[in-house]
Symmetry: C2
Subunit: 199 residues, 2 copies
């Protein structure tokens, strides 16, 4: 690098964003400085405010700047059901589908012993405690259908069963609008095994 | 969007970066808040400092926080030659090649009448003035080999010729290490037309 120090600093700092290498960081820097200084200033403010104030919801562990996220704080939600997801983005995806009225619990990751992520890191204690507090009737597991997601779901199932809480897993199969011919074989096998009789 | 306000703000602000859509902005936000808060704080500082202090070099128009960029300020550089490029990144590319010891002039764009970018916007006045001040012996045109870059080179050539300044254009042809079979036909035609006798 051999721009002036402030420009080098900015290029370097932009590289902490996932998926941004030197060339993209350079392009972003010039775009911001040449065409969008208000955008740069706004981004700087948003970053420092979020980094300073955003923490975790004390009930469901999702990211929020409040004590409780707006879903946990909403007493009209069904307090008897908890849906367990891996990330805040999954919560938004479910909310956009509009069909779920219960609460969530956000693991902020999945079990991954190789990276040192065990039950404590994904907040299993808090999940058990919360399930007991609310004396929930059902726990829905919506971790990702990956090896780690399945292992996490299995672990949580074991923990819940020993406490007599009903656990379910979201259905995996052919996505709506998907064409069978392009669906991978693992998904097809799942769809076949999970077939249901037509009434 | 339906995260908490500070998170929504950050996702929205990140979208001002070129090539960043909603999904990438979301991923960047979670990555920064979950794993790299120091990085987020550092980026915020770098952005606001750069947006506030970086301006243009009074001699060559490149981006710098100083009155003059370090190349224009370096009196050991050959003051008789100016290389005209479109962006600060081009200056860095030439400096990395290490072969050029003259000065630069950065247009910060190219002529593009359809976008309202005329000679005034790319600083042609300043270029003419600077050429006269230094009474340069050669002006090297290194605008991009695109339609707009060529038009800009042509325009500058006309302006310089009428003032009796020698103008040259960098060579276009097959890049080193390139395989002929994968080089586009326009470049090949250029390479053929620009062939030179071997001594």
């Amino acid at each position: 690098m051999s721009y002036s120090p402030l420009i080098d600093d900015l290029i370097d700092a932009l590289r902490c964003l996932p998926g941004v290498g030197v060339k993209s960081a350079q392009r972003m820097t010039f775009q911001l400085l040449e065409r969008n200084r208000p955008g740069a200033a706004r981004l700087a403010t948003a970053l420092s405010k979020a980094a300073e104030h955003v923490g975790h919801c004390t009930s469901c562990r999702t990211l929020t700047e409040n004590e409780q996220c707006f879903i946990c704080a909403d007493k009209r939600r069904d307090q008897q059901t908890i849906c367990v997801v891996e990330s805040p983005a999954d919560v938004v995806a479910f909310e956009q589908s509009g069909d779920y009225k219960g609460l969530y619990f956000v693991l902020m990751g999945h079990l991954s012993p190789i990276d040192g992520i065990g039950p404590a890191e994904i907040g299993i204690d808090r999940l058990l405690q919360r399930s007991a507090e609310l004396s929930i009737s059902e726990l829905i597991l919506a971790t990702n259908p990956t090896v780690e997601g399945e292992a996490t779901a299995y672990y949580i199932t074991e923990q819940m069963r020993s406490r007599g809480i009903a656990v379910s897993r979201i259905a995996h199969g052919v996505p709506l609008g998907g064409e069978l011919e392009y669906v991978d074989s693992g998904t097809l096998a799942h769809a076949l095994k999970g077939r249901r009789p037509i009434d």
